[in-house]
């Protein structure tokens, strides 16, 4: 099972399941009957039958929670009963109240909604079967990718449709403010967690015991998003390990025989929140989730969102992961209900597993031809002649496939049709006129529009388009880093190339899913892939571009350009920033403003992505990691101390690539 995580060197060899349209059945038979049909999922074999109310009692009376309640009461001199009440209150605020009636209501409504939104929802049924088996054998944790609010609705809907046990889902507290919908989500299995509760011992205890109790008893599969939040960029986000730590602990402590982690890849032809995300990245704050806001979203229903793909990956056994890595006997000497900091080996394992699981998600994301088209259009901002675009798309398709992309490109259709279909679905992003295709961004300012507004408008278009290119970056990222390194390295000696590669790899380790400590493996994989597509030639000592490799390497280098430039802009900004105590929360607006000024001044012409707050934050994280910036906590404020020399030399280094 562990081998699932260590994919074969050639990802192209990976066998993938067939996908079936699950809406087909819904279009043929009654939704009401579907919603009301007999629902009797197979459950965990060791399930201790438990009602929602019994679950509450079990959590509140658990030794672990009682221990912390005792501690908290002693620490703050509060009466134990009061702390106990507080814990009960926190639990009630958090807990789900799964009711079949609500689930059936959702099943009915969502059938209607999904049929309107999507042409089809394609699911790998073999994966569903594997999941069904896994649910019976072991406690299961579902780990879907997160691109849209649709994700968890769709997950529950699919599980209901295939008669699988419904998951309980960790959701952000922000939903709760939507009164009716929040309660409905609760009744369909969502439980709500506060976004930040770092220091709150009691909250942490209630929360982790709640999750662990459900897991230990096999109450229901637990579902949460490793990425923590919806990715606004289409790229996978660096995983958060907090919840993963919690769900793996019952295994480390021997409370369950094993736990199975099931990565689920959900991909969309078009994301519902597409332009919303771009605006968010540009600093237009995210609208607060309100019920009325959701109703306004009705206009969304009128649009075509194409096909949605859901791929259930192979279950990953925590036992196999931990084999030979974590000594479980370390928990022998302290009662298991007393919280214990996991040992370094366990922490490392969880961190590594999180990355690997996100990579598994990435690798099973179905990529549509449009992602290739968007990539090409972004590299050619002046537009492309349609036949050239088609030709290039066909070329890129071959390259992507040879790198192992899970590309859903119909074999039987001519390239023209495939590209055409993508352009038609995304007509808001790309325009075809006079046989030439270009991004649908405004050329001249509209009436009463300032130059600034125009720039933002363009940026929205570019970032929206980039969110599709980003979906396919994980396929190219390692060869792309190598391509850049090849051009910059002083010689073609492998060790020198690797030094360059490793530098880039480190700088971009927050931007892309690059597993910590795996730079050598990534380098080898990149060499292998570029060798495989005949772009480079490898010898014992050297690695050189081959004769026909120019186009491939140029394309791959261009993929990284926006990021290289964006990071340089951030470095420049930090060097020029005069404020001595730059507050962390001022960083993004200031950096954005700096980039905007460069764009307006015409210094930075084609780099709208430098405006993205995601890129700025990732760059900052890299600078902190490289010790060009230090975070200093003063009271509640975090300020940034910039090491100008380091930042400027980093900027110079990035400039050489």
């Amino acid at each position: 099972m562990a081998s699932v995580l260590y994919s074969p060197r050639d990802p192209g060899l990976k066998k993938r399941d067939e996908l079936e349209d699950m809406l087909e059945e819904r279009r043929r038979s009654s939704d009401a009957r579907h919603a009301l049909r007999c629902y009797a999922p197979a459950v965990y074999k060791g399930l201790a039958p438990r009602e929602v109310s019994a679950l509450r009692g079990a959590v509140l009376q658990s030794d672990a929670l009682q221990h912390v309640i005792g501690q908290v009461s002693a620490e703050c001199g509060e009466r134990r009963e009061l702390v106990q009440e507080e814990a009960a209150h926190l639990l009630d605020e958090m807990a789900h109240r799964l009711r079949l009636g609500t689930v059936r209501f959702f099943a009915y409504v969502l059938s209607k909604v999904f049929k309107t939104l999507f042409r089809s929802v394609r699911v790998n049924e073999e994966g569903v079967q594997r999941l069904q088996q896994a649910i019976q054998d072991h406690p299961v944790v579902l780990l879907p990718s997160h691109r849209s609010y649709m994700d968890f609705l769709m997950m529950s809907y699919i599980l209901y449709t295939y008669d699988l046990a419904l998951p309980v889902i960790a959701a952000g507290m922000d939903f709760m403010s939507m009164k009716v919908v929040g309660e409905m989500l609760r009744m369909s299995g969502a439980f709500f967690i506060r976004r930040s509760f770092g220091g709150d011992k009691l909250y942490w205890a209630v929360f982790s015991e709640y999750v662990k109790t459900m897991l230990r008893t096999g109450y229901a599969p637990i579902e949460f998003f490793l990425e923590g939040t919806r990715s606004r960029t289409g790229k996978s986000l660096t995983p958060k390990t907090g919840l993963l730590n919690i769900v793996m602990e019952p295994f480390f402590k021997g409370e369950v025989f094993d736990i199975h982690l099931v990565p689920v890849s959900i991909s969309y032809d078009r994301i519902l929140e597409e332009s919303l995300y771009a605006r968010e990245l540009l600093g237009v704050p995210k609208p607060k989730e309100t019920t009325s806001g959701l109703l306004k979203a009705r206009q969304i229903l009128r649009e075509d969102y194409g096909v949605m793909h859901v791929y259930f990956g192979h279950p990953v056994s925590v036992r196999s992961l931990a084999q030979g890595r974590v000594k479980r006997s370390q928990y022998n000497l302290v009662p298991r209900h007393i919280p214990q900091r996991p040992c370094l080996a366990a922490q490392a394992l969880v961190g590594e597993a999180a990355f690997r699981l996100v990579r598994l998600q990435e690798q099973a994301m179905v990529l549509r031809p449009w992602t290739l088209v968007a990539t090409l259009l972004l590299q050619n901002p002046d537009g492309m002649d349609l036949p050239v675009l088609e030709e290039q798309a066909a070329w890129l398709r071959r390259l992507a496939l040879s790198f192992g992309a899970f590309l859903d490109w119909p074999d039987c259709k001519p390239c023209r049709e495939v590209v055409g279909a993508g352009l038609a679905l995304h007509k808001n992003l790309a325009r075809v006129s006079g046989g030439r295709v270009r991004l649908a961004v405004a050329e001249t300012p509209g009436v009463g529009q300032t130059a600034e507004e125009l720039a933002f408008d363009r940026a929205v278009g570019v970032l929206s388009c980039a969110s599709y290119r980003n979906q396919i970056l994980h396929v190219f990222i390692r060869p792309a880093l190598l391509s850049v390194a090849l051009r910059t390295a002083n010689s073609s000696r492998k060790d020198e190339v690797y030094t360059c590669f490793n530098f880039l790899w480190t700088v971009f380790s927050n931007e892309f899913i690059l597993c910590p400590g795996a730079s050598v493996q990534d380098f080898e994989e990149a060499c292998y892939l570029l060798g495989k597509c005949c772009a480079v030639q490898e010898s014992q000592q050297d690695i050189v571009m081959s004769e026909g490799g120019h186009a491939t390497l140029a394309f791959l280098r261009a993929l990284l350009d926006p990021f290289l430039q964006g990071y340089q802009v951030v470095c420049q900004y930090l060097c020029k920033e005069t404020e001595e105590n730059l507050r962390e929360n001022k960083f993004v607006p200031a950096a954005r403003n700096f980039a905007l000024q460069l764009i307006l001044a015409g210094v930075l012409t084609l780099c709208y992505e430098a405006l993205s707050s995601d890129l700025q934050k990732n760059a900052l994280a890299a600078l902190v990691q490289l010790e060009a910036v230090t975070k200093v906590k003063v009271g509640d404020q975090v300020t940034l101390k910039v090491n100008r020399r380091a930042a400027s030399s980093l900027e110079d280094m990035l400039g050489t690539f």
Partner: protein, 600 residues
């Protein structure tokens, strides 16, 4: 007038046939015991011509009985067929036994000292093994490994002193041999041993030297076998109450050397609670305490260097033990629980209230069903009708799921009134955990199972089934998790290693303590189709032990470490702990005369 106390029969779970004390070295145990299996030669399980299970001989209650359900259970549990047999080599091939490597002057001087000795091949093979699966499996196939070169039979403490002196003088390797029931590879001759290996058989040192009724102690030579000790004490109205499952064959010296535990330890204590004084002969001389005070503060207790030393430091020759007057009344009992979890909770509560009967054991569902398979043919329609009624009551009326319910067996001991009171207390606790009293018979059969289960392994080995038991001790809060995880690990490992049919993987809780319990696992599988069944078996047992340790279980509760579990000693007692033990060994036996290489 008060009713006369019921006549107590020692160990009513099976009928003992007087087993002559082995007065003469030439009439050794090997004449009445199997050379390649467990126990008495006349007692064995077999499937008769009609395919019915049967237990031969006259020694046990089950002897001579037909067991009608055994075959179906056996075939269904292991997926075997009686058509496929794997019979053992019938007789020992003496020519396969390696010639003895004798140190002539040593043998000569022994003769002069009047110590009986022999290098007869059968006797050497008999003392070359314990009862680990791999040891018996090899013998059944007629494979003989390294065996001792000489067997010596000291008659008393002074003989042992002489033997040890001579061994030091001629640098021969001594391996003490008591009852031969080791399940830790402790009796295997180390392959790397190049010196002459001498098996020191303590069986002739089997006298009770005195009984002290004022202090309630008995002084015994350490070679005495458990059942002989108990029977002879019974004749004087006493008992030690130490009854390990192997007591038919194991010796007092062996108990001391391995830190044995008895079934009735709740009343009488384990071996470390029972011994008052030990005399051991080491290469440095004799170690013993100067008085028989009941407790001392004289630095670390030197008895604890001896108990558990597994024959690496010397030979235990004499022991003073506590005795108790024979209890007036004994009563068996059993309780059915709806599931194992409830059963464990009940045992935990019993331990919390410190009201455990002499013995309380909890079998899981698989063992419960196994117990049923060993039910002898019922003689009357009435009995079978009653059985049917009981089953109906429990499963239909009380709603117990037949594949989840489990049984605890109980043994109460003491004066009659107190036993009945005690019994009520325990049954009242059980009721709180959904337990139903299930009769004395079931209880008694449960204990009988313990003694015959070892015989059953030989039956399995006739039909492609190999298995073993192993044990651990674990804190209460981890009992359930450990049982589940270890059983599952066994199933998983068997599957991964190509075992075709799911293994028999079961457990029971056999002892309760204030802070935890002793858990016993039984594990067996059908090895048809495996190229190297022993290797598979050993790997699975190894993984199961890893799982035990990972789940907070100990390396051993009472079987000891031997050579089988040596690899985990450092982890179990820490590097410093191991160093302490090593330094004792270095001082006591610098030339490794006691060279069985157990433990360290």
């Amino acid at each position: 007038p008060p009713p006369p106390p019921p006549r107590l029969r020692w160990r009513s779970s099976f009928e003992m046939v007087a087993d002559a004390v082995y007065g003469d070295a030439k009439i050794s145990r090997q004449d009445i015991m199997k050379w390649n299996g467990w126990g008495y030669s006349d007692s064995r399980f077999l499937f008769n011509k009609k395919g019915q299970g049967e237990f031969t001989g006259k020694r046990y209650r089950l002897s001579g009985m037909i067991l009608p359900s055994l075959k179906d259970w056996f075939e269904a549990t292991f997926g075997t067929s009686l058509q496929h047999k794997t019979p053992a080599t019938p007789t020992l091939n003496v020519s396969a036994v390696p010639p003895p490597n004798l140190v002539e002057p040593f043998v000569e001087e022994l003769k002069v000292a009047g110590v009986a000795a022999s290098h007869d091949p059968e006797g050497r093979v008999f003392r070359s093994h314990g009862h680990c699966l791999h040891e018996i499996f090899a013998l059944r196939e007629g494979r003989i490994g390294r065996v001792p070169d000489l067997v010596v039979w000291p008659n008393c403490h002074n003989d042992v002193v002489k033997i040890v002196e001579l061994a030091c003088k001629y640098n021969v390797c001594l391996m003490p041999y008591g009852g031969g029931t080791s399940v830790s590879s402790a009796l295997e001759c180390p392959l790397e041993e190049t010196r002459s290996v001498v098996s020191l058989d303590t069986s002739q040192m089997n006298r009770i030297l005195w009984i002290d009724e004022k202090n309630l102690t008995v002084h015994v030579e350490a070679g005495i076998i458990g059942q002989d000790l108990e029977r002879q004490l019974n004749e004087s109205g006493y008992c030690t109450g130490h009854e390990p499952d192997s007591m038919e064959f194991s010796s007092l010296g062996g108990w001391v050397a391995t830190r044995a535990s008895g079934m009735k330890k709740n009343i009488y204590g384990n071996i470390e609670d029972l011994v008052v004084h030990i005399k051991m002969v080491t290469p440095r001389g004799v170690i013993e305490k100067s008085c028989q005070g009941p407790r001392m503060s004289t630095g670390p207790d030197i008895h604890h260097f001896i108990m558990g030393s597994e024959g690496t430091l010397g030979v235990v020759t004499e022991v003073t033990m506590k005795i108790r007057p024979l209890p007036e009344y004994q009563k068996y009992g059993s309780i059915v629980f709806p599931n194992f979890q409830q059963g464990v909770s009940c045992l935990r509560e019993v331990a919390r209230q410190r009201c455990a009967p002499a013995s309380i054991r909890l079998m899981d569902n698989e063992q419960f069903q196994f117990g049923h398979a060993l039910k002898p043919q019922v003689s009357s329609i009435f009995t079978s009708f009653l059985d049917g009624l009981k089953k109906f009551y429990i499963t239909k009326f009380k709603g117990f799921e037949p594949h989840h319910l489990c049984v605890a067996t109980l043994l109460f001991e003491g004066d009659r009134e107190k036993v009945l009171q005690h019994e009520k207390q325990v049954y009242d606790i059980a009721a709180k955990f959904g337990g139903l009293a299930a009769g004395e018979d079931n209880g008694q059969r449960g204990y009988m199972l313990t003694f015959v289960i070892a015989y059953l392994r030989d039956l399995g080995m006739d039909y492609y089934v190999i298995g073993e038991s192993f044990e651990t001790s674990v804190p209460w809060d981890r009992v359930l998790d450990l049982c589940r995880n270890v059983k599952e690990r066994i199933v998983r490992e068997c599957k991964e290693r190509g075992v075709q049919f799911p293994p028999f993987s079961t457990c029971r809780v056999t002892q309760t303590y204030d802070a935890g319990a002793c858990v016993y696992f039984y594990f067996a599988f059908n090895y048809r189709g495996l190229a190297d069944p022993l290797h598979v078996y050993e790997r699975v047992e190894h993984e199961a032990r890893e799982e035990i340790l990972a789940n907070g279980g100990s390396l051993s509760h009472h079987h000891g470490v031997g050579k089988l579990r040596k690899e985990w000693m450092r982890e179990a007692v820490s590097t410093v702990g191991l160093g302490m033990l090593q330094s004792v060994k270095e001082y006591v036996d610098p030339n490794n005369i006691f060279g069985n290489r157990n433990l360290l």
